[in-house]
C-alpha cells in the first residue's frame, strides 16, 4: 500500500503548485502510515528531482525517454496507471491543472478507481472509504464525495494546500512503463508559452477588472497594479465577451474558478455568476464607484471611488511600501 503523486514539470522545472501537491500527498500517506512515491515524466535534471525529497517524497520514479518529451494525455495516463500498479498504490494524487484535468479521469478509468477532482482539502479515511470536499456549483457550494473503490484518484485544486517541508531521503529510480498501441496517436504541433506572465490558476494575487473600466485602452492601470503586486490579471464575463480581454482571463461561473490569497476586483459590480468563480479567494478587495454594488457584500475590504483615480494611487502606495 502506498501513495503515488504525479509531478508535472514545466520545461524541466517544478513550480510551487507541485510542492503544494507533494505536501498534500505526503499528508495523505501519513494518514495511511505509508510511503510517498513521486512519478516524474519527461526530462528533469537530477537536482530538480532531488528537491522533491524536501517535502516528504521517499522514492522518485523517473520516466525520461524521447517519446515522453512532451505531454501526450493518453500516453502519460498509461504511465501513471502503470506506475500505480508497480508501486501497489491505493491512492494516486494528481494536480487539477489544465493537463491534470485530462489525465485524472483517464487514469481513474484505467484503474477502475473512484475519482475526486477539484479537491480542496485533506480527506478523512474510514476503513476503505475516503471522504473528500470539493467545490461544486462553481463555488456556490461544496460537495462531500465518498470514494469506495480499492484504488482512489484525487485531483487537488492548485493553491488550496500549503507547502510543508518534510525533509526525507529520496532515491531516484528509472521506471519502464507499459504503454498501449494507440497512446501516441496524438501529435503535439506547437507549444507557445509566455514565460514572463503569471498564470491565473497559479497566481496568489489576482487583479481583475470589469466594465467599469469603459474600454480595453484603459487596462494600463490594471496591468500596473498587477505588476507591483506580482499578480495575474483577470476580467469579468462582459469584458471578455466584448473582446476587450481574452477569454482565458475570464473568471466566474462559466470561466475560470480561482482561489487566490488576494483578489482585487475593480469596476466589477459582482453578479452572482462572477462571485461564484472567486468566492473562495482568501481576501477580497472591491473598488467600485457605486456604493450599492453587490460585490461589497462579500468583500473583506472596500473602497468607494473612481477606479481611474483610486487604482494609480494604490499602485503608488504599494510601490512606496515595497520600497
Amino acid at each position: 500500500m502506498s501513495v503515488l503523486v504525479y509531478v508535472e514539470n514545466t520545461e524541466g522545472k517544478f513550480k510551487k503548485t507541485v510542492y503544494e501537491l507533494i505536501s498534500y500527498a505526503k499528508s495523505i500517506a501519513d494518514l495511511y502510515g505509508s510511503q510517498l512515491t513521486a512519478l516524474s515524466i519527461g526530462h528533469v535534471a537530477d537536482d530538480e528531482l532531488k528537491s522533491l525529497g524536501r517535502y516528504g517524497v521517499s522514492k522518485i520514479l523517473r520516466v525520461d525517454s524521447e517519446q515522453f518529451k512532451s505531454f501526450v494525455n493518453q500516453a502519460y495516463a498509461s504511465v501513471i496507471a502503470s506506475a500505480a500498479k508497480h508501486t501497489n498504490a491505493n491512492t494516486v494524487v494528481i494536480s487539477n491543472s489544465f493537463s491534470g484535468k485530462g489525465l485524472a479521469p483517464r487514469v481513474a478509468a484505467k484503474l477502475g478507481a473512484g475519482l475526486a477532482d477539484g479537491a480542496i482539502d485533506l480527506p478523512t479515511i474510514d476503513g476503505n472509504t475516503l471522504s473528500i470536499r470539493k467545490t461544486a456549483f462553481s463555488g456556490k457550494a461544496y460537495a462531500i464525495t465518498e470514494l469506495t473503490s480499492a484504488i482512489k484518484v484525487i485531483a487537488l485544486t492548485p493553491n488550496s494546500y500549503d507547502v510543508k517541508e518534510n525533509p526525507t531521503d529520496s532515491s531516484i529510480e528509472d521506471f519502464a512503463p507499459e504503454n498501449e498501441e494507440h497512446d501516441f496517436d496524438t501529435i503535439i504541433k506547437e507549444i507557445v508559452r509566455a514565460s514572463d506572465k503569471i498564470t491565473l490558476p497559479d497566481a496568489e494575487i489576482v487583479v481583475s477588472a470589469g466594465r467599469g473600466l469603459k474600454g480595453p485602452e484603459n487596462w494600463g492601470i490594471i496591468e500596473d497594479l498587477a505588476e507591483v503586486l506580482g499578480a495575474a490579471t483577470a476580467c469579468s464575463k462582459p469584458v471578455s465577451d466584448a473582446g476587450w480581454r481574452p477569454h482565458s482571463e475570464h473568471v466566474g461561473q462559466t470561466g475560470i474558478v480561482i482561489s487566490p490569497n488576494l483578489y482585487v476586483a475593480i469596476g466589477i459590480s459582482g453578479a452572482i455568476q462572477h462571485l461564484a468563480g472567486v468566492s473562495s479567494s482568501k481576501t477580497i478587495v472591491v473598488i467600485n464607484k457605486d456604493p450599492e454594488a453587490p460585490f461589497f457584500k462579500v468583500a473583506d475590504y472596500g473602497i468607494v471611488g473612481d477606479a481611474f483615480e483610486v487604482v494609480p494611487k494604490i499602485t503608488q502606495a504599494i510601490k512606496a511600501y515595497k520600497g
Binding site: F71, A104, R133, A136, S138, K140, K189, Q273
Partner: protein, 245 residues
C-alpha cells in the same frame, strides 16, 4: 461527419443554490434548468461542422424525463435527433459508462461535450469516455478544426497554449471561443417537436464515487471600508491584518 454531443441539464447560472434532506440533495424546487453553457458551445460547434448537409448531430443526455425540455431546446438549436438514457446521473463514471455503451457501435466521428458542467464542476466525463472507447480525449479545447481524418485543436496550458493534432474519432471538451453561440430560431423550435427523442434504459455500473452531502460556504465577516483618499491604509491592512502582501 457524425457528431455526438453530450449535454447536461443544469440550474440556470443565476440560481441561488440551496439543499434539502439534511443537505444531501440539491433543492430543485423553483429552479430553472438549462443546457449546460459549455455543452451549448459543443452543440454550436457541431452545428457549424455539419451545416449544409455535411453530417448529422445526435445529442445524448443521461437523466430523467424532467430533462426533456432541455433536450428539446438542443433539438431546436439544431441537433437532428436526441437520446435520453433514462437514469439519475449520479456520478461522472455512471454517465460516462452509459454514453460509452450507447456510442460504441455507432461509429461517431467526433464526440463533443462542454469542458465541465456548471453544477458538479467535474471535468471527468470526456477523459472517462475516451478511455472507455479507447480513443484520444482533450479535456478543454479553445479552437477546433477538422483537417481530413484528423482534428486540430488548441488547448490552454499553464502560461500558454498548445496546438495538437488527433486522429478521429476523438472526445473533446469545449470551452469559450470554440464556436459562435447558436440560439434556436422559430423554425427550429417548431421542428424540434417532431424530431426523434429516443429513450434508452441504462446499463448497470459499479459505483466508485458518490456525493454524500453538501455544504454552503460560511459567510464572510463584515467589510472594512477604506477612504478613497487613503490608499496607504488599504496597503497597511492587507499587509498587517489580512497578511496577503
Amino acid at each position: 461527419m457524425k457528431v455526438l454531443v453530450c449535454i447536461s441539464n443544469v440550474p440556470d447560472t443565476t440560481t441561488k443554490i440551496t439543499f434539502t434532506n439534511d443537505n444531501t440533495e440539491f433543492n430543485a424546487s423553483g429552479v430553472q434548468f438549462i443546457v449546460n453553457p459549455y455543452d451549448e458551445i459543443a452543440l454550436s460547434k457541431a452545428i457549424a461542422l455539419t451545416e449544409a448537409g455535411k453530417g448529422s448531430i445526435t445529442v445524448i443526455h443521461v437523466g430523467e424525463p424532467s430533462a426533456d425540455p432541455t433536450i428539446r431546446k438542443a433539438l431546436a438549436t439544431g441537433a437532428d435527433e436526441a437520446v435520453r438514457i433514462n437514469a439519475v446521473p449520479h456520478s461522472a463514471w455512471f454517465v460516462a459508462n452509459q454514453i460509452a455503451h450507447y456510442a460504441k457501435d455507432k461509429s461517431y466521428d467526433l464526440i463533443l461535450l462542454g469542458r465541465e458542467s456548471i453544477d458538479y464542476n467535474g471535468s471527468q466525463v470526456a477523459g472517462m469516455l475516451g478511455e472507455l472507447l479507447g480513443i484520444p480525449s482533450v479535456s478543454a479545447v479553445k479552437k477546433l478544426d477538422i483537417e481530413g481524418e484528423r482534428v486540430v485543436v488548441e488547448r490552454e496550458i499553464e502560461g500558454g497554449k498548445e496546438l495538437l493534432s488527433l486522429p478521429l474519432p476523438a472526445v473533446l471538451g469545449t470551452s469559450e471561443g470554440v464556436a459562435e453561440p447558436r440560439i434556436p430560431n422559430m423554425r427550429g423550435i417548431m421542428s424540434a417537436r417532431t424530431k426523434p427523442l429516443t429513450v434508452v434504459e441504462p446499463i448497470a455500473v459499479e459505483e466508485l464515487a458518490h456525493i454524500v452531502r453538501y455544504e454552503t460556504p460560511a459567510p464572510r465577516g463584515a467589510i472594512t471600508f477604506v477612504d478613497a483618499s487613503e490608499p496607504e491604509k488599504l496597503v497597511e491592512l492587507l499587509h498587517s491584518k489580512a497578511k496577503v502582501i
